[in-house]
């Protein structure tokens, strides 16, 4: 008797889970379709295309950013492809110069629409770097090579 109870309970739970799953699958396209009606308007940004496919970025930008954030923060990896700074450079609005100053700006357009709070901008600048004189880069490059040579020699000495 008890076994039967358990089995039927289990069965009903499974059915419930399946129902939820089916609902999720069915809802996904319909949600997208609905979204088509009043999709958030956002400025696309500069350049030909994003660093990844648009569809991929829509779903995965947060994972890319989080991965990159940890790599940069803890290991000093400074590639630009998936850096937040890179996003801001391209996607800052022409009107406000920012990705999050108004509800129409690139990040806020979708995040307001989906009502997903984001706290990146508590700390990070929403505007691209102000243009600096180009000398810093040149200086860095000039410094690099002789030092490389230097240390190669130096390394051999005790």
């Amino acid at each position: 008797m008890a076994r039967l109870d358990l089995a039927s309970k289990l069965g009903s739970w499974l059915r419930f889970a399946a129902l939820i799953g089916a609902a999720a699958v069915l809802a996904a396209p319909s949600f997208q379709a609905a979204a088509g009606v009043d999709k958030p308007k956002l400025e696309r940004g500069k350049g030909e295309r994003c660093v990844e496919d648009t569809d991929f970025m829509r779903r995965n930008h947060m994972q890319l950013l989080k991965h990159h954030r940890d790599e940069t923060m803890h290991r000093g990896i400074r590639t630009t492809k998936h850096s937040l700074k890179g996003c801001v450079e391209c996607h800052a609005s022409e009107k406000t110069g920012s990705v999050a100053a108004t509800k129409e700006d690139f990040c806020m357009a979708c995040h307001t629409y989906a009502s997903v709070k984001l706290d990146c901008w508590d700390c990070h600048a929403t505007k691209p770097m102000a243009k600096k004189p180009a000398k810093t880069e040149a200086a860095a490059e000039a410094k690099t090579s002789p030092l490389m040579a230097n240390t190669q020699n130096g390394g051999a000495k005790p």
């Binding site: 803890h74 000093g76 390394g155």
Partner: protein
């Protein structure tokens, strides 16, 4: 090569030189030929992690540091977009400390900043691991996981840390800062990672003609800082705590 070198792979202070001598030979043969680890430190490719073969450090000659001069402080504030205000709730990453010896009356002036310890108390006490020491010796706060408990501020013997007490805007894109997190000197990590191998304060001190501050790789026997600390007496602040600080002082 791409294997990250963790801060745990630490070398005891005394053994460091010997290790370097041996390490250099090994590095030259065993690892990619022509690319030495010291070289990596000077201009690390952007996709490579920082390495424990480098230990960034600073040497401050207090005999050259001028009383009342705050060039280093101003430069730090500009580089890291700090307000420069000095109220009790304002952040100060570097400050000038004026000293007077109680017995002899001797006066000294010196900049005090995060000492980038090898064994940082702030890292030990941080509950979430937001305070951490990078492989190359730079002590940082990961603001993504800092909860603002301020235990690190209680633990730091140098009073090097500040809490951001209010909302901030217009941060430097390379130096994110925000309300509710603890912060301190980063050794201008954005400049170091760019391969500039200097900090805003050191640049300013040199530009002002004092040349009281020297930044470089303590692990590179050919670097100016390594040669200087090997030749002349220098000391750590609160050396009794045995923290092996990355910042050392001469003349006190």
């Amino acid at each position: 090569m791409s294997q990250p070198v963790r801060p745990e792979d630490k070398i005891e202070n005394g053994e460091r030189r010997a290790f370097l001598a041996a390490g250099a030979a090994v590095a030259g043969t065993a690892i990619a030929p022509g690319v030495l680890l010291y070289g990596m430190a000077q201009a690390k490719p952007a996709d490579q992690p920082v390495s424990a073969k480098v230990r960034w450090g600073m040497l401050i000659d207090t005999t050259k540091c001028a009383t009342g001069c705050t060039e280093c402080v101003t430069a730090c504030n500009t580089e890291n977009s700090l307000s420069g205000k000095t109220g009790p709730q304002d952040s100060q990453w570097i400050r000038k400390v004026e000293l007077k010896n109680l017995q002899t009356g001797a006066r000294h002036s010196l900049p005090m900043l995060c000492q980038h310890c090898e064994h940082p108390p702030c890292v030990d006490v941080c509950p979430t691991g937001a305070s951490f020491r990078r492989a190359d010796g730079i002590v940082l706060v990961d603001r993504h996981i800092c909860i603002g408990c301020r235990y690190c501020m209680m633990a730091c013997p140098y009073k090097a840390r500040s809490l951001v007490h209010e909302n901030l805007t217009d941060q430097n894109p390379e130096v994110p800062r925000g309300k509710g997190c603890v912060e301190s000197c980063t050794f201008c990590v954005q400049k170091v990672d760019r391969g500039e191998n200097t900090t805003a304060c050191v640049e300013a001190c040199n530009a002002a003609g004092h040349k009281a501050m020297l930044f470089g790789d303590l692990n590179d026997p050919e670097s100016e800082i390594a040669k200087t600390v090997k030749t002349y007496a220098s000391t750590e602040v609160r050396a009794d705590l045995n923290l092996n600080t990355g910042v050392r002082y001469q003349g006190i």
